[in-house]
Each structure stands twice: as structure tokens, then as C-alpha cells.
Symmetry: C2
Subunit: 211 residues, 2 copies
């Protein structure tokens, strides 16, 4: 095996990675329709031809970017090890994690929005994703069951609905940060505003599940 060389003149893997990185950024910034293939190539310091060589076309590239985005958040969620925490704390951790992930990976939200504008047509060919999602719902089901057993939580809560709500209360605030800041006449992205919102969200979820 050849050693890794820093200034390699040719490196397919590195070029692919740079293209994906640049594509994630460009798609997140302008959506699928507004993204420019030339801009992705420039920013990746690659030739446009390489995009077609490695990925097929603009929409194929978008598909891979989406897959990475979904698998990325799922893989981070898996590392949480919520089963080691008491139910309330586990749920609170998940709310905090979800919020912070959206905050630190704002492109995730924009990519999902763009994919919904296109009626999920790109991810529909990625069978790994529903599979990954089952894991998330299972995780929350587990927490709910433990909470029920200990009497902390009430019975009959739908894990999928709870999951959706945990995502919703963070996602909505952040995806609408621009119109929201203007309409509510305050900077929703200020440190204090963000802390307030997270605290409010934790409260919302805990009140929703407690007996």
C-alpha cells in the first residue's frame, strides 16, 4: 500500500470528498434548483467534468448528499446511549441533542426542505433510510416503555408522534429563523434567545409525557 501523501496531485477519494462537501454547502444554500454545478466544481477545486464522472449528474449528486445527511444525523443519535439514563433524562437529552444538531448542521434542515419541495423523489431510491429511521423510533419507544414502567410517564403515547414533535419544535424555529426574526422583531438566533427556546422545548416534551 502506498503511504498517504499530503500534496498528492491525483486522489480520486479526496476529490470525491471535496465535491460532496462543496455540494452539501451549495445545495443547502440555494436548494436543488438554485444550486449551480459550476459553483460546486469551483468550490471543490475540481473540474466540473469530475462531478459527472464520479456522480453521474446534478440530481445524483443531490441524492448522495441527502443520504449522507440522513445517515449522519442517525449515526450521531445512535451514539447517545440513552438507555443508560433514566427516562426523563433520556428524553431531555434527545431534545437537547436534536436542537444542537440542527444548530450546528444547518444544512441538514435546508436539504430536507429542498427534498420535500421535490416530493422526496430522490431519497425514495435509498432503502437504507427507512431502516435507519426504525432505529430512532425504537429508541424512543424504549424510553417511553421504561418511563411507563417506572410510573414517570403516562401510557399510550405514540413514539412516532413524539419523535415528530421533538424534531418539530426545534426544526420550525430554526428553518424559519429569517422570517421569524423579522416578523417577531427580535433576533431569534441570539445566544439568549436560543437558550430560551431550548429550555421551552425541554419543558414542552417533559410535560407532554409525564403522568
Amino acid at each position: 500500500m502506498a503511504e498517504e501523501k499530503k500534496a498528492k496531485k491525483r486522489d480520486a477519494e479526496a476529490t470525491k470528498a471535496r465535491i460532496l462537501q462543496a455540494a452539501k454547502r451549495e445545495f443547502a444554500k440555494h436548494g436543488l434548483g438554485g444550486a449551480r454545478v459550476d459553483e460546486i466544481a469551483d468550490r471543490a477545486q475540481a473540474n466540473k467534468r469530475m462531478i459527472y464522472h464520479y456522480f453521474g449528474g446534478k440530481e445524483d449528486l443531490f441524492r448522495i448528499v441527502l443520504e449522507e445527511a440522513y445517515l449522519g444525523i442517525r449515526s450521531a443519535e445512535k451514539k447517545l446511549d440513552l438507555d443508560a439514563l433514566p427516562p426523563s433524562e433520556a428524553l431531555e437529552s434527545l431534545v437537547r441533542f436534536t436542537w444542537n444538531y440542527y444548530l450546528k448542521n444547518p444544512e441538514f434542515i435546508t436539504l430536507v426542505n429542498s427534498e420535500n419541495l421535490h416530493r422526496a423523489k430522490h431519497i425514495k431510491t435509498l432503502p437504507s433510510l427507512p431502516n435507519a429511521m426504525r432505529g430512532l423510533v425504537g429508541m424512543v419507544e424504549n424510553i417511553l416503555k421504561r418511563g411507563e414502567d417506572s410510573g414517570e410517564f403516562r401510557k399510550g403515547i405514540d413514539a412516532a408522534q413524539l419523535n415528530i414533535t421533538i424534531a418539530a419544535i426545534g426544526y420550525y424555529y430554526l428553518t424559519n429563523r429569517y422570517t421569524g426574526s423579522f416578523l417577531f422583531e427580535r433576533n431569534l438566533m441570539e445566544k439568549e434567545a436560543l437558550e430560551d427556546r431550548l429550555a421551552f422545548n425541554v419543558e414542552t416534551i417533559l410535560r407532554l409525557v409525564r403522568s
Copy 2:
């Protein structure tokens, strides 16, 4: 005053209205970037020239469509007369109204998403909007105050946060209907699923505010 004639050959107001209607549809379907001016003109049974004549350009048209969308939902909210209801019922009504409005006016969500992709740059020139929003927050503040006084609601709930949460739990579910249906492996838009979600949302909000 001339009488309204059905088959008027020239009618500026009617043409403007048809263009706005077609534009709302096209912008909602494809976003600002993906929308086609020719398509708007065709669907409005107007000549493309008219769009530039009446509205200035594509982005100006988008601005007016957004303004109408925001004023539309606010004007519907105003008609709710929530002050006539007991606090809990008033809040429940608002949750149901918000959900149903999004459901019946899906273009509202897509337009807002598109505007956030563009960092709210179009609505920023519309000073009527923050003004209209103050009314909404005021409405919720009123309900909260009445609930506090009667002992039904706990104290110290932020009206803006509650507003955001009421919107969020409906908006997120509906804007992500396509990816959601695929990832959760169920049709989120089925009648029963919609009813379940609305019931869950009412529960979420009432549990959040009750003492």
C-alpha cells in the same frame, strides 16, 4: 360606473388577480428559483409582458404573493374571536385553526420555506407584516392571561414561544410530509393519520400550559 361584464376583453384588475393566483401556485410548487415566469403567464391566461407591466419582475411578484399569503392567514386568525371562549377552548381552537389552515392552504408553507431560503429578503420591505404579527402574539397573550387569572394555566409562559410551538407542531409535520411518509413507512396524509396528529397536537399544547 360601468357594469361588470363577464366577457370583458380588457380588465386590468382581473388580469392582475389571475397572475397573482397563478404565481402563488407556481412559486409554491417550485420555489422562487424553480418557478417559471412563462408558466405563470400561461396559467394566468395572460401574456408574460403583463407580469412585467403590473409587477415589475419575478422577484417583485414573489414579494406581493408573500405579502398576500401572510395577510391572508392573519386575517383568518382575526376572525376566530377567541376572546369569547374559555382559555383552554380558545387555545385548542387556535391549534385546530392553525393546523387546518396549513392543510387547506399548503402553498403557505412552501412560500414561507422559499422565503427563508432567501433569508427573508423579500418580506423585509413590507412593514405591514411585523405589525400584523403583533396582533397574533397579543391574542395569545390575552388567552394566557385569562387562563392564569382563572387558575387553569400556570404562570410565566412566553406568548411568542407558545405561538411558535403551536405553528411548529403542525408546520413540521406537513412541510415534511413527503420525506416523513417515506421514512416512517406510512402515509402521513391519510385521513386517520391527520386526525391522530391533530389530537396529539392539541394534547401537547394543553399539557404545556395547564398548571
